[in-house]
Amino acid sequence: MEIHLNRVDYIQVGVTSQKTMKLLPALGKKATQKVAVADHDGIITCFGMKKGEAVPVFKTLPGQKIAKLDLGGAAGTPQEKIFVCSGSQVRGFTRKGKQFLTFEANLTESINAMHVSGADLFVCASYIYNHYCDCKDQDYYLSGDKINDITCFSSENLTRFIPVLACQDRVLRVLQGSELSYDIEVPGPPSVLELYNKDGGQEILYGTTDGKIGLVQIGEASAATKWEIDNDKKKGGILCIDTYDIVGDGVNDILVGRDDGTVEVYGFDSASEPTLRFEHVLSESITSIQGGCVGKESYDEVLTATYTGWVTGLTTEPQKAEAGPGDEVRMSKEIQTKVEALRTELEQLQVKVLQGREQYQQTSQSSTAVSAVPVFSINDKFTLCQDDASYSLTLEVQTAIDNLLLQSDVPIDLLDVDKNSAVVSFSECDSEQPNGNFLLATYRCQANTTRLELKVRSIEGQYGTLQAYITPRLQPKTCQVRQYQIKPLSLHQRTHSIDQERPMNRLSLVGQFSFAEIHSWVVFCLPEVPEKTPAGENIAFFFHNTFLGTQLEATYCKGEGHFKSDNISTISILSDVLSKEATKRKINLNISYDINDESVSYTLKMIHPKLEYQLLLARKVQLIDALKELQVHEGTADFLIPEYRNILDQSTNLLEEYKKQPAHLERLYGMITDLFIDKFKFKGQNVKSKVSSLLEILDNYELNSLLDFFNEA
């Protein structure tokens, strides 16, 4: 069943964080709902729509940046009290805008997730979870990794609350009081949690930063995954989820907002499988989403708030088709007054801005005055994509971006992204210079670009910093720099467990270092490790290489560290970086290796299918043009052998596949070469001179000859 929704823009507020817009419950039966939205300027705006115009109910004074907004109220009454958190403070407002609560949580960090239920308040700072009841401290929990979101079951038949935390290390933690009850592994770092059924039930919807959605049933001692939606089309990460019956079939649909501006509605088919019913793309991150009725009575809609503060509805109300001639005129009149109001406001603003500009110019005459332009906010994300083992960098600014300068002191490749319309230009950078630049690129953006997406490919073992200088089109012109670390083992990703059966190489460190020190080294080497030193005496982390599928286990405690991997290059990189780091701090390390020769053949065998597939693909793609020409020349393809005819039939698929993975083969070759060099490095031999013969073997690839070469050399 298809639905058609029309876009209506309501108002624009300041920059918004994730989950900062809610619909207040309707008063009467049919009346439209009011909207409460909070922004980074600290302002809560509550408004309703009257005749197509946004009428404010109340607006608070500016203050500290608001991170989350939730609704609450005494059990059994309409949930219409507005709660916001900013810094470590939680405030409560009535639906009329009267402040009735100010609560200082006394946390050292600012609150980034909050849930309100009756008199109970649940807040999370980066690693800490706190539960207050009537503003009195109840429970406390310290999580192993950053907490992104929290939700809580509070139905009446439950005697106690079950809070669930979404943690960055790809687990949902289910708590019982101050204790961890159990955790649930999810396929990506969860960014948002939502109750599937607002009236009860123990099912939770989660969304991950890599764009996956799932539903889990929380049980007493364990959880069961109901379904999962993969992110095949490589859309953005999930920022917000809501459930609402927008299709009108009596079953709640799932509304999803993503950080690339995609709004999706999932309905359920007869087999209760979620299927995509509607999709719309706005140009900026969707920070909040909710279903309800705002613009016009009896027309349901999906209300969204975006990063730059637009509150936009996707309504079931038809925009033109069903409106009679009379309606048309009224519509345009409304818009006319709206436009005129905007224009007069613009003129007034223009005058004010001119005055401001003049004053600013005048200060430049003074020798004592200083110029300090306030910091503009940037929403950025630098994440590893599992599918093609490359990093994607997204940048979003409140106003249009003028240009972007990318600078890197490590060799990286910049890949072309279709969505990105900016004109890129690479500048020459001789790395011999003392400036040490490996990449200098400028992106000149087209008008009205507020969001940029880039792709970067790194090489394991080469580490450093990528810097982005962002200049928005805003006077006085300023630019802000953001730094992103390219870690030595940049292509590794955290996982929950590894296959212990594989032949493993081991690297052991013994020395006079503290637990915090070795943890900081691991943070330096590997992505997705929490910066905070974990609680306890020792810790184990598991990783897998997104490109090759090899694995790494890191276990360490004070004075001792063990790293196990089936990939000898991983061990080699780790040992290089760790000994360098230790030397920097003048710590004497005792490094020992346990190299398993079999591991190299094992890794090669594991690479084999990928390599073979890529080689075959490359060969087929090479043939396509020639075969097509033959086909045109002969007028038919019947004379070709079936293999070639097959290539012709599949040519479009093959080309697509080939285009998807640029330089895949070169990367595989590079990794096999590294493997070769590293294998003999541990034996104390330098085999760089033999690399050319290795490449020759790779050109006429055959698994056995490659294995022989590795063994013989």
């Binding site: 818009i335 900016a422 020459e428």
Partner: protein
């Protein structure tokens, strides 16, 4: 929302930019395009199943509407139109690297087949100037040639570099067509017959040109720029990261004014308003666009815009009907307007907030904000730096702050002097200072605007102030004034007389050269930093100016620049460049040699093909007789012969390529000799040179180049 009225999937690839529509029988329009394997296909859905198969034409077995034309050579350009005075339908013209074929599709016969040594990169068909019959004008390597329906060339001239695009339009507004030529040296030249009337310099190879209306025309460059010119002034342009494959003028929104339709390499089609460049319509193909043409393809009296992709997908669009009110895109204009206004309001509010916060003073002691003294002003200076051991010769742009603030990075956006469109200087954290020196090496003598953006702040700032400054780099910036004339004096020189005061020449010098303190006399000597030796300029009391340099290109640039500065319309000059002329003489003898080798090889090839015929007959005879040994022997011989032929072919093609290079340099020499003069004398030199080459009179050629006329 405008949707295509027809879509076709032709199972043939289409070569980019080689698409046209022709009414070969005078009635039915047929989409005609070059495809793989040296073939041209003609799509004729109007008259099914009544075509004979003969000569070049053969029916495609894949699709009954398509007939294939065998050219047996890689096609480089094609067009269709009325060429002959009494032919019923359009003539198809197909150009390759060596030939031009005029073909009558309806009668299935060649009209003419001419060898064109300069190749045909672009072709246009139509009337030019006062020439009575329509011409097929082809642009090749530095040369332009126009043929009438009998294959006689009525038009010939040279241009600065390889021609990439051609269009005929009434540029001057005199009711007659001028020829616009886009070439690889980034220039768009306008020819009124063989007289060059205007020249516009762009910053990349001009890949497409199209006539819009009035004196307006559209253009596309190899770097992804498309735009519109009105006469010599650029109206607007936009740049994309994709490449424009084809441009075409078509009135898609039915408002009476054509829009510029662009087909892009990523498969996008967009229509832009001719006045503003605003997009009024866009659509997407799954593969790169090959060509955009128009024609009444449904035979209902309405012209359609026909877009084709390289994979053979074809879409036709009708101009929008009235009820769309020019709104071709799927969005509500009112909502967009409100959104845009709100966006502007938001921007102004943010700017206001910036000023307010700034006026409040620095409450935060946070150094990350990048506080700088309000009176910070950037100083920029341009200077010429001769080569040292560490660095090549360059123009140095130095940017400095007057106080303790530092420059984090400098971005310079400029066209045509960097590899991309920008150059970045980003010192490492240890080398941060208040002064940045940027070496610039402009590859050509062109004036360039440098748009400088400097990020200024403190050493540990994360936010910087952006200073935006524009500086102009003068045309002749890579020349260092020198007093030391001990170097070997140059022998090459060009002399001409002007009726102007020396002060005006001094003004020209000061504007076009990078002189540290300016000069007050027109007698001056420079050192070319590109290694071209000395350049000296002197002016005698009677207004005679002598330029001494061994670089004939530089001399030409100087003459053109000075003439346009002094607004001289006609200027004749005497020139002598012994070094260059000597080179040219060698080239000319080489051309002769290559020609004779070519003839010999052609004869040898004919011999070989005779042999092959004989041998094949003998071998087949032997097979029929059952003499297997003889047959094997014959076939082995045949195989050897084949190998020889392939080798010979390689030699031939090398010979041909070398010949092309020589011919190009001869054409360039004529162009260069022309550039030493302005206006009428220039055209005289070019046509006289051409005549000299035609009559193979080498001495006359040099005499013309020196004196500017044939008779003396």
């Amino acid at each position: 929302m405008l949707v295509p009225i027809f879509t076709l999937k032709l199972n043939h690839k289409i070569n980019p930019r080689m698409v046209t529509v022709g009414k070969f029988d005078g009635v039915h329009p047929c989409l005609t395009a070059a495809t793989q394997a040296g073939k041209v296909f003609i799509h004729n859905p109007h008259a099914r199943g009544q075509r004979p198969v003969a000569h070049r034409l053969s029916q495609s077995t894949q699709d009954s509407d398509i007939s294939l034309l065998n050219i047996n050579q890689a096609v480089t350009c094609l067009t269709a139109g009325t060429l002959g005075p009494n032919s019923t339908g359009d003539t198809l013209l197909v150009g390759s690297q060596t030939n031009l074929l005029a073909y009558d599709v309806h009668d299935n016969a060649d009209i003419f087949y001419r060898e064109v040594t300069d190749g045909a990169n672009a072709i246009v068909l139509g009337k030019l100037g006062d020439i009575p019959s329509p011409l097929a004008i082809i642009g090749g390597n530095c040369a332009l040639q126009g043929f009438d329906y009998e294959g006689n060339d009525h038009f010939w001239t040279v241009t600065g570099d390889n021609v990439r695009s051609l269009v005929l339009c009434d540029f001057t507004g005199d009711g007659k067509n001028e020829l616009l030529v886009g070439s690889e040296d980034f220039d768009i030249r306008v020819f009124k017959e063989d007289e060059l009337v205007s020249e516009m310099t762009e910053n990349e190879t001009v890949t497409s040109l199209c006539y819009m209306h009035g004196s307006r025309f559209g253009y596309a460059l190899a770097n992804g720029t498309v735009g519109v010119y009105d006469r010599t002034a650029r109206y607007w342009r936009i740049k994309s990261k994709n490449h424009a494959m084809s441009i075409h003028a078509f009135d898609l929104n039915a408002d009476g004014v054509v829009e510029l339709i662009t087909g892009w390499s990523n498969g996008k089609i967009d229509a832009r308003s001719d006045r503003t460049g605003e997009v009024i319509f866009k659509d997407n193909f799954s593969s790169s666009v090959a060509g955009v043409v128009e024609g009444d393809y449904r035979l209902d009296g309405q012209k359609q815009l026909i877009c084709t992709s390289i994979e053979g997908e074809v879409r036709g669009y009708l101009p929008a009907s009235k009820d769309l009110k020019g709104n071709l895109m799927d969005s509500s204009a009112e909502q967009d307007l409100i959104r845009e206004l709100s966006q502007r309001r938001q921007n102004l509010l943010l700017e206001l907030r910036n000023y307010e916060e700034n006026a409040k003073g620095v409450s935060e002691t946070n150094s990350g904000v990048g506080v700088i003294p309000a009176n910070t002003q950037l100083q920029t200076a341009l200077s010429v730096r001769p080569a040292t051991e560490a660095q090549k010769a360059h123009v140095e742009l130095s940017i400095s702050t007057p106080n303790e603030t530092i420059i984090r990075a400098v971005l310079i956006f400029a066209e045509g002097i960097f590899e991309g469109e920008s150059h970045v200087v980003h010192p490492s954290a240890q080398n941060l200072s208040g002064c940045v020196r940027v070496p610039i090496v402009p590859p050509k003598d062109i004036p360039v605007d440098l748009h400088i953006k400097a990020f200024v702040g403190g050493k540990t700032s994360t936010q910087f102030h952006v200073f935006e400054i524009t500086r102009q780099l003068p045309r002749f910036s890579m020349y260092d004034i020198t007093v030391d004339s001990s170097d070997a004096p140059t022998i090459g020189r060009v002399t001409f007389s002007i009726n102007d005061r020396p002060q005006r020449v001094v003004m020209w010098l000061n504007q076009n050269f990078l002189l540290p303190e300016g000069v007050d006399s027109p007698d001056i000597t420079f050192n070319s930093l590109r290694g071209g030796g000395l350049l000296s300029i002197s002016m005698a009391g009677n207004g005679q100016i002598t330029l001494r340099t061994d670089d004939i290109d530089l001399a030409g640039d100087l003459v053109q620049s000075l003439a346009s500065f002094l607004a001289i319309e006609d200027l004749s000059a005497e020139a002598d460049f012994p070094g260059y002329f000597e080179e040219l003489r060698t080239t000319l003898t080489e051309v002769d040699e290559f020609h004779s080798v070519h003839q010999k090889l052609t004869a040898a090839m004919a011999d070989h093909s005779n042999y092959i015929r004989n041998m094949l007959v003998q071998a087949e005879d032997a097979r029929l007789m059952g003499e297997m040994i003889t047959m094997k022997k014959r076939y082995r011989e045949l195989y050897d012969l084949n190998r020889d032929l392939i080798n010979e072919y390689k030699i031939r093609s090398n010979n041909h390529n070398a010949l092309l290079v020589c011919l190009k340099s001869v054409n360039q020499a004529i162009q260069r000799a022309g550039r030493l003069r302005v206006g009428k004398p220039k055209n005289q030199v070019i046509s006289a040179c051409r005549d000299a080459i035609k009559s193979n009179n080498v001495n006359a050629l040099f005499r013309i180049m020196r004196a500017g006329t044939a008779s003396s």
